[in-house]
């Protein structure tokens, strides 16, 4: 049995973020992290490995420096890492990205007992689209928003979260599951893993590697092959500065309540 986990390296948008004057993000000023939901996907894969002895391949599309992140995931317990990287892939939207990642998954090979895990969404784009689109391109059944997971034989039973409850869904392998943080608590790197991670199998798939797959056509990948384009990006204006009330005593509170009442806000 084989498990493929898709991960993304993202800027840490929870920290301080600098925006360039032209409205683009100053990525150089930001730390990069493994996308949080993807760590839950990695943990789901490693937990299944513990249970079944499956081989775990971690797959990432991104620039060459993403190698460091992939080595860290090897140190957590994955068996093999593949980085999909190439200029031809740059500027891909979710559709084009899913075409490329699907071609890479086909290259790695997905058997009847195999499972693909993705994080639900990445914190840079927040789209939650790539997982479902990979499933469509590979004609796999999908279960998204997985908060609990059991595998018996080739059947996965998944607790799929809704806003107002959940569904219990059964699905046969091969299938694709997108994971949310409720699913598990990601493990840390092991000391042995850190020692070994630079000698573990690591490959780069570039355009040459994947170009024979019909999914990787110049008209369906990269900036030019993406159905969606950015028309304009901009920063929202700062709201006008409000009133800072002096002090933090009862008078201040009375003054605030009085103002709110006078303005018919309360």
């Amino acid at each position: 049995m084989k498990i493929i986990v898709c991960v993304k390296q993202v800027p840490d948008t929870s920290g301080k973020v600098a925006v360039n004057e032209d409205g683009t993000l100053n990525r150089a000023s930001m730390a990069t992290i493994t996308n949080p939901d993807d760590l839950n996907a990695v943990e789901a894969a490693l937990a299944l490995k513990d249970q079944t002895g499956a081989e775990v391949t971690v797959l990432c599309m991104g620039p060459p420096p993403a190698e460091g992140m992939l080595r860290e995931i090897l140190a957590r317990g994955a068996d093999r890492a593949v980085l999909i990287s190439g200029r031809e892939f740059g500027g891909s939207d979710t559709y084009a990205t899913s075409q490329i990642i699907s071609a890479a998954i086909k290259k790695i090979g997905l058997g009847d007992e195999d499972v693909v895990f993705c994080g639900r969404q990445a914190i840079d784009g927040d789209t939650a689209q790539v997982g479902s689109q990979i499933a469509e391109k590979l004609n796999l059944p999908q279960v998204s928003y997985a908060a609990d997971l059991k595998k018996e034989g080739n059947t996965l039973t998944v607790k799929r979260m809704l806003e107002d409850g959940y569904m219990t869904i059964q699905v046969q392998t091969p299938c694709l599951i997108t994971c949310i943080k409720e699913l598990n608590e990601p493990r840390y790197m092991s000391v042995a893993g850190i020692f070994d991670c630079y000698s573990m199998p690591y490959e780069v798939f570039d355009y040459e590697t994947l170009k024979d797959d019909p999914l990787v056509d110049p008209s369906t990948i990269g900036l030019k092959g993406s159905p969606t384009n950015i028309f304009k990006s901009f920063t929202p204006p700062q709201k006008g500065v409000g009133v800072m009330l002096e002090g933090s005593d009862k008078d201040t509170c009375d003054k605030l309540a009085g103002t709110l009442a006078a303005k018919h806000i309360i």
């Binding site: 409205g23 479902s132 800072m244």
Partner: protein, 369 residues
């Protein structure tokens, strides 16, 4: 299926469509919001607005959509559509879209809409923009939107004023940036739209009565569905209605020294103001409140009449979900907390000292009226 890069855009004359999500025979509130927004877009294109409703015995829900602006509702009923499955819903929607060729398709960005939308878009070979918060077609209204909602010097930018693409605007990078996305080469232009953001129109009974119902052909069999829904469980706990509330009192990391006391204070203040309590991502991640309380980019977007932020520093992630509230009150120990940048009224102080006094003051002010 559309062949690659050769979609004949002019053939997509089927109007603006809204996927109207129902669960267990009850329409999701966001369907009405999207119908109301879709009406505006259909008028800008001088075309029809249609709902598409899938389920088992759901025709009775269709006419009401007319009351919010739908000209027509495509009703697709089948026992296999009773509970949502990715495969069945994708198959039926793609069948009907291929037959009627809408130029725009909107889907509520619910946990179901965000599962369905990408799969449909990938099968139709078209673009999809996730979790949009603003939509335009007319360039004039788009430029006005930019004038009010961006720091761009709009008058210095040359726009193609004849552009008729759907312009889909959404926050990116946790709300640090806004991006307007277009899908110029394929149809339908597809967007999932964040629940609670679009305003619901006034209901009009006459329009509801006039709404046309159409039952399009589609094929569906058990063999099309690769997953099996064993059960659908509704949360037993009543979930907080952040989006519908007039007042939201949220707490952040500032309650860490006494979590229970902090949440209780927030609840008391919410009760005094007639509202509900929410929390920042830190509070949800720490397990101090359940996920339905989360305000922010990865939680809910709210625009209540009053938003009170207690001990919330105001990460952009949080601000993205609340900065359009009508009146924002912030209490924070740190006078340089970014939350004060969006607050209408700010108090620098310990929330555990300030909030009890504030509750008394508000009760007194209300009693005095």
């Amino acid at each position: 299926m559309s062949s690659f890069n050769s979609t004949d855009l002019a053939a997509f004359t089927g109007g603006v469509w809204v996927f109207c999500e129902q669960r267990r025979g009850k329409m999701m509130a966001t369907s009405y919001e999207l119908i109301s927004e879709g009406r505006k877009l259909a008028d800008e294109r001088d075309t029809e607005l249609c709902g598409i409703l899938l389920g088992d015995q759901v025709e009775g829900l269709a006419k009401e959509l007319g009351g919010y602006g739908a000209d027509k509702v495509f009703v697709c009923e089948h026992p296999l559509l009773k509970d949502y499955t990715t495969d069945a819903y994708t198959k039926v929607i793609c069948d009907v879209v291929e037959a009627y060729k809408p130029e725009v398709m909107l889907i509520g960005a619910t946990n179901i809409g965000r599962d369905l939308g990408p799969r449909v878009a990938a099968r139709l070979h078209t673009g999809l923009t996730a979790d949009c918060t603003h939509l335009d077609i007319d360039m004039d209204t788009y430029v006005d939107f930019l004038r009010n909602s961006s720091t761009l010097d709009v008058d210095k930018i040359k726009f193609d004023m004849e552009d008729i693409n759907l312009k889909m605007t959404r926050p990116a990078f946790g709300g640090h940036l806004m991006a307007t996305i277009i899908c110029p080469r394929f149809r339908p232009c597809m967007a999932t739209v964040r629940p609670g953001v679009m305003k619901k129109a006034e209901f009009d009974q006459a329009k509801a009565d006039a709404c046309a119902i159409e039952k399009p052909a589609f094929s569906l069999s058990a063999a099309d569905i690769q997953t099996q829904v064993l059960e659908v469980v509704k949360a037993t706990k009543k979930l907080v209605d952040l989006i519908g509330a007039d007042v939201v009192v949220s707490v952040g990391r500032g309650i860490s020294k006494d979590v229970e006391g902090g949440v209780k204070l927030a609840q008391e203040l919410a009760d005094a103001l007639g509202g509900v309590v929410g929390g920042s991502r830190a509070v949800i991640d720490a397990g101090w409140m359940s996920a339905d309380h989360q305000v922010g980019q990865t939680g809910k977007t709210v625009h209540p009449k009053i938003y009170v932020a207690l001990g919330i520093s105001g990460a952009i992630q949080h601000k993205a979900g609340m900065q359009d509230s009508e009146c924002i009150i912030a209490v924070n120990k740190n006078e340089t907390a970014p939350i004060f940048e969006v607050a209408d009224y700010g108090i620098t102080g310990d929330l555990f000292k300030v909030v009890p006094m504030l509750i008394d003051s508000i009760k007194a002010a209300k009693a005095a009226r």
